[in-house]
């Protein structure tokens, strides 16, 4: 504000002081950029060394992951498979439930009910993930195991992914609801005027109009599930598997499995010395994870920005 009249004394030192404040606040904001650079360097540098020891083909396309027992093999595919397995299970719970929840909140709920339900749903995402992991291991697995015909291991992908699904419901529902609430009333009224029922308006008008928001909420939730660590570490076990048949694929749900995140934790906590290939594998897996979640987040952003319906 250079054109304001200064009433408070010496102009020169005033400008200097204002300048210092600006610099201090800029430094605070710049720390976030340093964080990003730090993350990228911390992941990329050890990964480059790692790829000097293990060919990139072997890492990205290998179907065996066995970092501890000689001869060591570092194929990331079993971990990617485990991650996708858990993510698919969580998505099977969270995507439909989250969308229906968003529909209820935006179309059916009274003002008062929405005011109660929305903060309650946020609690689902606020419970610490280690607590969810404990729930899955100690309560959900025995509960599912009691179902006749279901043979579950102590550690299994099923209960971990179900519990993770519950955790990410609010991610889907809150963003989806925002975009459904943003659909203007006039469009709904037009459909009502054509004789549509509330059900038809919700499913054929509101949801299609809000599809970009719903899609971006889905992708964000998947990204969250891929990066989730403690639930799988506590409840899903540590056996890296890559199925060789369709039945093996289905069976994987009932057995112990290992995701990228739980492999990172396993490598980070084992007594591996700092300089070994197995230790550096941790960073390579971390980079793979980072790239996957980053791409999903960017795709979600792009969908929101590009395909958002603009109602004037």
């Amino acid at each position: 504000m250079s054109n304001t009249i200064d009433l408070s004394g010496d102009r020169g030192s005033q400008d200097l002081r204002e300048g210092i404040y600006g610099v201090v606040f800029f430094v605070c904001a710049a720390i976030s950029v340093l964080t990003t650079i730090g993350i990228i360097l911390a992941l990329v540098l050890p990964t480059l060394t790692f790829l000097g020891e293990v060919p990139i083909r072997e890492f990205l396309l290998g179907t065996q992951f066995s970092p501890a027992i000689q001869p060591t093999v570092f194929g990331v595919l079993p971990l990617v498979f485990g991650t996708l397995l858990i993510t698919v299970g969580a998505a099977a719970v969270a995507l439909p439930v989250g969308l229906l929840t968003a529909t209820y909140l935006s179309e059916y709920a009274s003002h008062r009910r929405r005011a109660v339900l929305k903060p309650l749903l946020e609690i689902l995402a606020g419970v610490p993930t280690v607590v969810y992991g404990y729930f899955a291991l100690v309560y959900v697995t025995p509960l599912l195991d009691a179902i006749p015909g279901l043979e579950l291991g102590t550690f299994n992908a099923l209960s971990a992914s179900l519990v993770m699904g519950i955790m990410i419901i609010p991610m889907v529902s809150s963003i989806s609801e925002d975009s459904m609430s943003a659909v203007p009333e006039s469009i709904r009224n037009a459909a009502y005027g054509l004789g549509a029922t509330k059900y038809r308006v919700s499913t054929s008008v509101v949801i299609p109009s809000a599809v970009s928001g719903i899609a971006s909420s889905y992708i964000l939730a998947l990204s969250r599930a891929i990066g989730e660590t403690m639930i799988v570490v506590v409840a899903a076990g540590q056996s890296a598997r890559f199925p060789d048949s369709i039945s093996g694929l289905l069976n994987s749900f009932f057995q112990s499995t290992q995701t990228m995140t739980s492999a990172i934790v396993q490598l980070g906590t084992s007594d591996l010395a700092g300089g070994t290939t197995a230790y550096r594998a941790l960073f390579a897996i971390g980079l793979t994870l980072f790239v996957m979640t980053f791409v999903l987040n960017v795709v979600s952003d792009v969908i929101t920005m590009r395909y958002q319906e603009d109602y004037e």
């Binding site: 304001t4 009249i5 408070s8 005033q14 002081r17 210092i20 404040y21 600006g22 606040f25 800029f26 605070c28 720390i31 976030s32 950029v33 964080t35 990003t36 993350i39 992941l43 229906l100 929840t101 209820y104 909140l105 059916y108 709920a109 339900l117 903060p119 309650l120 749903l121 609690i123 689902l124 606020g126 610490p128 993930t129 280690v130 607590v131 992991g133 404990y134 729930f135 100690v138 309560y139 519950i166 419901i169 004789g195 029922t197 059900y199 499913t203 990066g227 660590t229 570490v233 995140t261 990172i264 941790l282 960073f283 971390g286 994870l289 980072f290 979640t293 980053f294 987040n297 960017v298």
Partner: protein, 536 residues
């Protein structure tokens, strides 16, 4: 072939059932997650409080004495919302005060010791408070912020250099006197401001005097109690009794609010009645894992001796540091992005880059932050594996994006009209930010920060990566000492195969963590509600 009649039939066939089924489907979906979590929470509370051992008659007494009256009040509060709000405010203040008191005990009494605390109080906290009060009296002064910055940088250095001399003071005046000067007096001053300027109840000086007087006159009473020392009493006077007194006073002053006291009263009276009744009838109650012994014992391989003490102290220490770091950096970054960032030119591009970068950082998995902490803080900078400072810095970076995003929203909610009014009167950018924007944005900033701290307190994966110990038998003693944390301890215990651990000790740990989180979140929500009603 489509004919008008056929489209008419479609219209006719519209069924109510389909719509009703869909509506209930959406309602069911909304409740699904909540019910599932509710059931799991019931399980864990059942285990943590050892409710399986209580006899049926005890449950009868529980329902009659506590549950039914409390539910009655809740039902009443649904109609009389003022009563509910007042009750919630009282309970949250009490819980928050307790939590803050235990936090202060952990940081000052256990970790730092009153002598060291007083040294840093004199070199850092006291000058900051003095500058703040001076600025309140003379808002036009522009160098106060810079002076505060100077104190923040120079204060810890001077404190560390003169630590040996300054810690002598404590041995001269004694621990309780340290708390009187460093906690009770500030609490009395804050009470005066809150009552005079904020609540406008008058009598602020009287309230401040009352706080100090209570500190002195309660001493003979305290000395006769076995569990409470003078220091602990003074700490809780500052964090619990004074705020609770202000909230109670405020609500007593408004006659329509007084009914709100019935809620906590009914609950506390009910619990007292329950204890008397069960004792008189000789009913055997539950055998809780979650008890005083659990909170004050270090971990043990014997389930009945195991406790969460070292983990609680570790978590409190880490979270206090994270709160200080993220508040300073988060608010600074938000001020830059909202107030200082230029609207055009290369500066605007940089600001845009920072904004995009922050929203992307919010989506990075927490375990990746753990790798960052491992590579940068533990290895590169050499702050050590599993130390308090490494953990605090790593968790700070993790929640910083969330804090910045919520602080930006709070700052943006301040209307431009009052900013422009300030500029129009000749105020500089900093004067406007400091005197106009920040006071109005602080409730929103605090809400967002507390919610983010709730996230930090439950985070486990980054702590594992930076080598935080799963089990440690003593609390940390300084910034560079190795520590553990509540979620780490829960993680460690959950892999113990014995049922006593899985259904007892871990359940109690989960309950501890959830109680802390619930208290933090309800304080945040209370702040937000206050903030929103004031804006309207």
């Amino acid at each position: 072939m489509a004919t008008p009649t056929s489209s008419e039939t479609t219209f006719e066939s519209v069924s109510r059932t389909k719509g009703a089924v869909f509506e209930y489907l959406t309602l069911g979906a909304s409740l699904f997650g909540l019910v599932a979590l509710g059931v799991l929470l019931l399980y864990v509370f059942w285990d943590a409080f050892g409710l399986a051992t209580a006899e049926i008659a005890w449950y009868g007494a529980l329902v009659i004495c506590v549950v039914a009256p409390t539910l009655g009040f809740v039902a009443y509060a649904r109609r009389n919302t003022v009563a509910g709000e007042v009750a919630l405010e009282l309970v949250s203040t009490a819980m928050g005060g307790l939590l803050a008191g235990f936090g202060v005990i952990a940081v000052i009494e256990v970790i730092a010791g009153p002598a060291v605390w007083f040294a840093y109080f004199l070199t850092v906290v006291a000058p900051l408070v003095g500058l703040f009060l001076y600025n309140r009296a003379r808002p036009e002064v522009t160098w106060v912020g810079l002076a505060m910055l100077g104190v923040l940088i120079a204060g810890p250095i001077i404190g560390t250099l003169t630590l040996d001399t300054l810690t002598q003071i404590e041995s001269l005046i004694g621990g309780p006197f340290v708390y009187l000067l460093s906690l009770v007096l500030p609490a009395a001053v804050i009470a005066r401001y809150v009552i005079d300027d904020y609540l406008e109840l008058g009598n602020g000086n009287f309230a401040a005097g009352l706080v100090v007087a209570v500190a002195f006159f309660a001493v003979p009473l305290i000395d006769t109690l076995p569990l409470v020392s003078r220091s602990v009493w003074l700490i809780f006077l500052s964090t619990l009794v004074t705020p609770l007194g202000i909230v109670a006073w405020k609500n007593l002053a408004a006659p329509e609010n007084r009914v709100g006291f019935a809620g906590p009263g009914i609950f506390i009276g009910g619990v007292g009645l329950l204890l008397i009744v069960t004792d008189a009838l000789g009913l055997s109650g539950p055998t809780p894992w979650f008890d005083w012994q659990y909170l004050t014992s270090n971990p043990s391989r014997f389930a009945d001796q195991a406790g969460l003490y070292s983990a609680i102290i570790g978590s409190v220490f880490i979270i206090v540091l994270v709160a200080l770091i993220t508040l300073a950096l988060g608010v600074g970054a938000a001020i830059f992005l909202e107030e200082y960032a230029p609207d055009s030119g290369p500066g605007a591009a940089i600001a845009r880059l920072i904004r995009i970068n922050i929203s992307n950082l919010a989506g990075v998995p927490s375990v990746v932050y753990g790798i960052l902490g491992l590579a940068v803080f533990a290895n590169l900078v050499g702050l050590g594996f599993g130390t308090v400072i490494t953990a605090a810095l790593t968790l700070s970076l993790l929640i910083l994006p969330i804090v910045i995003i919520s602080a930006r929203e709070a700052i943006r909610a301040v209307p431009d009209s009052i900013r422009n009014a300030s500029y129009g009167m000749g105020a500089t950018k900093w004067q406007t930010t400091r005197n106009i924007v920040l006071p109005r944005a602080i409730p929103g900033i605090l809400t967002g920060t507390i919610l983010a701290l709730g996230r930090a307190i439950g985070e486990t994966a980054p702590l594992i990566m930076i080598g935080v110990a799963t089990t440690k038998f003593s609390p940390p003693s300084g910034l560079f000492s190795k520590t553990t944390a509540m979620p780490m301890q829960i993680f460690a215990w959950s892999s113990y195969p014995s049922a006593e651990f899985q259904h007892g000790v871990v359940a109690a740990g989960v309950v501890t963590l959830l109680v802390v989180l619930l208290t933090m979140n309800s304080i945040a929500i209370l702040l937000r509600n206050k903030f929103e009603t004031e804006e309207l």
